[in-house]
């Protein structure tokens, strides 16, 4: 992340912003505060981030309406997973934990289009200009950093950047649409709820059996998600223990592991029909939230800990697609029981590959 100095975070471009449409409302209408008094008093009641319903909705009604249910806004993906592993009588503690440790990742209109996200301590993007397309480096990858950003830009040692970045310089929005970011594709329970968005096949329409790529056989295309052949080694997290000291929340995240594993598709459906997908270990251990109570994840096994994944380091040529034997008969690229920690065997019953594909 580029460093932004303290003054830049509150600096308003006096030439540019007054000429913009948003300036017509004036500072106080959106942010509150007082005029004609000294600076201390002027800041009394100032709202750093105006309420979208009041400030944005009157003009941007369509977006504000759908965004209220977007994953960016609700963080429903976290809640869906944590509730599934927990139990109703534990939800209050889970909610408390989320409020202290996760909700900072919630984003809003202003936290992408005007300032940096709160997760990054905020600060105006560029003199209070309103950015229709948020700058990727200061917003998107500010939050989606350690996995998405590092994979996409090739910042994991020895792993090349995603071809979409390296060769085409494609920013996030080229694949991830405005509709997706603003929840306009319907209410989702988690990131992979519904059809793939984006779907590789929307651009790569020419991929089909007989397209000249030897491995693009009918069976491969039917059974394998694109990433199985075209993603490469990515980051896996194993736990995220949370606690507080003097009211300040903190995290202890176990060492990450670079790995690549093909597992059985835990979300197999007509929309995601592949038998094999890439799976990534997510940061969840049974005692991660013990600070908030004992045994808060009594249904830990309800979901796999190796989860459906779409790594952002797509390559045309990858180690596994170099020869048939790199996958067929090679247990190292598949998720097998030997890859599991003792406490997660049952959770991953549905994703481990018990029979390594032969020829």
């Amino acid at each position: 992340m580029p460093q932004v100095e303290a003054w830049q975070k509150v600096f308003i471009n006096g030439k540019q912003f007054p000429a913009s449409l948003h300036d017509r409302f004036g500072c106080i209408t959106c942010h509150g505060g007082k005029s004609g008094v000294d600076s201390m008093e002027a800041h009394e009641g100032v709202v750093r981030e105006p309420d979208a319903q009041k400030a944005c909705e009157p003009c941007h009604r369509e977006i504000v309406t759908t965004d209220a249910t977007s994953l960016h806004s609700t963080l429903a993906g976290y809640r869906t997973a944590l509730y599934a592993r927990s139990a109703p009588d534990k939800y209050p503690q889970i909610d408390q934990m989320m409020a202290n440790h996760c909700n900072k990742c919630h984003t809003s209109c202003g936290q992408c289009h005007v300032s940096m996200p709160t997760n990054l301590d905020g600060g105006l993007l560029q003199g209070h200009d309103f950015k229709k397309i948020p700058p990727m480096n200061l917003t998107c990858t500010g939050c989606h950093g350690s996995r998405v950003n590092d994979e996409y830009k090739g910042e994991n040692e020895g792993i090349p950047a995603d071809v979409h970045w390296q060769k085409a310089g494609m920013a996030c929005f080229r694949c991830h649409s405005e509709e997706q970011a603003h929840g306009a594709l319907g209410e989702k329970k988690h990131r992979y709820d519904g059809p793939p968005t984006p779907d590789c096949r929307e651009c790569h329409t020419d991929v089909k059996p007989g397209d000249g790529v030897e491995q693009h056989t009918e069976k491969h295309l039917e059974l394998l998600a694109c990433q199985v052949c075209h993603a490469t080694t990515y980051k896996n997290c194993y736990s995220c223990h949370v606690a507080q000291q003097d009211g300040i929340p903190y995290y202890k995240i176990a060492k990450t592991v670079m790995d690549f594993k093909i597992g059985l598709n835990p979300l197999r459906s007509p929309e995601r029909p592949w038998k094999y997908v890439v799976v990534r270990h997510v940061p969840i251990a049974p005692d991660d939230y013990e600070y908030y109570g004992k045994d808060l994840l009594p249904n830990y096994d309800a979901l796999p800990t190796w989860k459906y994944a779409t790594p952002h380091n797509i390559q045309r040529v990858t180690p596994q697609n170099q020869s048939c034997t790199n996958c067929h008969g090679n247990p190292d690229v598949f998720l097998t029981e030997k890859d599991l920690l003792p406490y997660e065997v049952k959770a991953n019953e549905g994703v481990v590959v018990k029979e390594i594909p032969g020829f």
Partner: protein
């Protein structure tokens, strides 16, 4: 016999006969079979007529929820009647780079206990 009778007597016979025949026909018709009964057509049902005077509702009716269908119409709020508060002092400071460089400070943070990649 008077001259009048003598002149018209030849018409009396046929007229009397016609009257007798007519009476016989009327009598015969009155003794014929009973007429086919006519079934009355049921009345056309009429809709319930509400009372002429309805009670005045005490609370306004709730608006019917209309599903959102995008694109929505352009916002009606145009700024008419909108009063922009004087914000000149906000602008004076927040557009002054030199002043902000001098005054703006990052809040001090204690050492973080967090470990690992987030």
């Amino acid at each position: 016999m008077s001259e009048f009778l003598r002149k018209h007597v030849r018409w009396v016979g046929p007229v009397v006969l016609m009257l007798i025949g007519l009476l016989v026909m009327v009598a015969a018709a009155g003794c014929g079979p009973a007429p086919t009964p006519i079934t009355p057509v049921p009345p056309t049902p009429t809709q319930y007529a509400p009372p002429a005077v309805q009670p005045t509702p005490t609370t306004p009716p709730k608006p019917t929820p209309v599903p959102l269908s995008f694109p929505l119409p352009a916002p009606a709020k145009t700024g008419d009647g909108f009063v922009k508060a004087d914000d000149s002092n906000c602008r004076t400071c927040h557009t002054d780079e030199a002043k902000l460089r001098e005054l703006a400070k990052e809040p001090e943070k204690g050492p973080s206990l967090s470990e690992g990649e987030g």
